[in-house]
């Protein structure tokens, strides 16, 4: 399928500062992408370039086959929803008034305002002034605003910062519903734990460069990080000796049994061997977490840069 958002050889410099360098990325329709990176890695810059708010120093951005700047910009931006980081909105207006204003600016269906207020659970607070809203309510209002006009592409910049776990869950559920409807979602985050359950693919930015992109499984394989297999009730020695002298496998005694760290491709071999061990009470397999994968790519990226 053709890419909904196509980023090709994108560079952005602010004077001497390099914000983005040679980023190429294609986002097909209907997928949720996580854009990961430290603060200052270039996540916001990438979104501003995709929206046509900034001029690329080199390279191209296309949404639905057209540039987000210039003549086609207005048509392209009609198909995009954006939630900026920590948007404050108009504190003196009510939530409904804010949504109505943006609905008119986007020329969206007025009826969608009430639907969205219900969808993001702000119907009861719709007539309160936005300045009385909590951080979570403001973020939900921001999401509702981004969903006006049924956008094909959603760009969400740090959407879950400051949200409690329940609010975060609900936030992702809403996002997922719209992705199921065919929208492509790119959401940035510097908070990694938990995000992997909500995204189909991740792109990792570091120092303005794209360090990795793909599904979690693909990145896990590419990162060549070991899995940790925990065998409860097993004592070291008996039967595990044949792994002990291998350089790529380590066997350690833990409080409840042993912990085997092995390359992902030996996972099944280790498990097969473990099944016959005396005293085995339980098995748990922990693949490399997103945190570890992220750390691996960022460290590798740092080496490549220097």
């Amino acid at each position: 399928m053709t890419a909904l958002l196509k980023i090709d050889g994108l560079h952005k410099r602010y004077g001497e500062v390099r914000a983005l360098a040679d980023v190429t990325l294609d986002l097909p329709p209907g997928e949720v992408w996580g854009l990961l990176g430290h603060n200052g890695a270039g996540k916001t810059t990438l979104m501003k370039l995709a929206l046509g708010i900034l001029h690329p120093s080199a390279g191209r951005v296309e949404i639905l086959g057209a540039a987000p700047r210039g003549r086609s910009g207005r048509i392209v931006r009609r198909a995009v929803g954006y939630l900026p980081e920590a948007a404050a909105f108009y504190g003196e207006l009510s939530g409904r008034e804010v949504l109505r204003y943006f609905q008119r600016l986007k020329d969206a269906d007025p009826r969608q305002v009430e639907e969205l207020l219900v969808e993001v659970d702000l119907a009861a607070a719709a007539d309160r002034r936005v300045k009385t809203y909590s951080k979570g309510m403001r973020q939900r209002l921001g999401l509702a605003q981004a969903l006006l006009g049924h956008p094909r592409l959603l760009l969400l910049d740090e959407p879950t910062v400051g949200l409690d776990p329940i609010a975060t869950q609900r936030f992702y559920r809403t996002v997922r519903r719209h992705a199921a409807g065919g929208a492509t979602v790119l959401l940035s985050s510097h908070v990694l734990p938990g995000i992997e359950r909500h995204v189909d693919r991740v792109a990792i930015l570091g120092g303005g460069r794209l360090l990795a992109a793909g599904t979690l499984e693909e990145l896990r394989a590419a990162a060549r990080l070991p899995v940790v297999i925990r065998l409860r009730g097993v004592r070291p020695g008996n039967g595990l000796d044949r792994f002990a002298d291998r350089a790529d496998i380590t066997v350690q005694e833990s409080a409840e049994g042993v912990e085997i760290t092995a390359p992902a491709e030996h996972k099944l071999a280790v498990l097969r061997a473990a099944m016959g061990l005396p005293g085995l009470a339980d098995v748990s397999v922990a693949p490399a977490t997103l945190d570890e994968i992220y750390g691996r790519f960022v460290a590798a990226g740092g080496e490549a840069v220097t």
Partner: protein, 280 residues
Amino acid sequence: MIAVLRTIAIKEFRDGLRNQWVIAITAVFALLAVGLAYFGPAASGTVGFASLATTIVSLASLAVFLIPLIALLLAYDTVVGEQEQGTLLLLFSYPIGRTELLLGKFAGHALIMTVATVVGFGTAAVLIATFTHELGSLELWREFGYFIVSATLLGWVFIAIAYVISVSVAEKSTAAGLALGVWFVSVIVFDLGLLGVLVATRGAVGTLGREVFPYLLLLNPTDVFRVANLVGFEPARNYAGLVGIAAGGALSLGALSAALVAWVAAPLALAVWRFGRKEI
């Protein structure tokens, strides 16, 4: 395009109603006019309503200070304020042009100044004319009408200048400082400077001065307003002061009006141009 412009203009005007700007400016204008008319003759030992023509003169010399200040305060944060609260970034992501955005804001702010000027000064004028039995004087209403139109234009001029400031800086406090600076220069420093030149070149005033001076006044929109309102009225000649020099008739009312319009258009065009190139 027009629909978007109207949406933005309506929001700006509603904001003006919501935060009491419209009502406050209107009340200030009305009280000022009525107060000046009533207490104006106090210098001659009495109080009571002076004629509308006399009132226009004193009103114009006060409006010259007040209108630019109010317009600058109303509009200085229009872009930089939205930039600080993050909504400018959001607006840029919408399918609207930056020119429409700024012109829409201008239409809203201009409407606020217009309503305040027309309603504030207008009701005051009707009140004064009722007391001084001048309601029937068409000539007077024509003059007062011109005062209101030029006062409105003066307000628009400083809204446009405030926009240039607002699109050019990154912080609200910088914009506020610059706005006050602009006000100070245009209502005080510029005239002092001209006066200095006038005194220093005393020999030339008789010959060259009469030719050049009226045109130097065109460089300052507040002076254009002053000239337009003071020299047009017979009772004003005694109060006209510095700008009285322009009373020689070098500048017609039409030319002065055109100068005010140009003083609206030029800063507005500059603001639109800078806004279009702004990166945030």
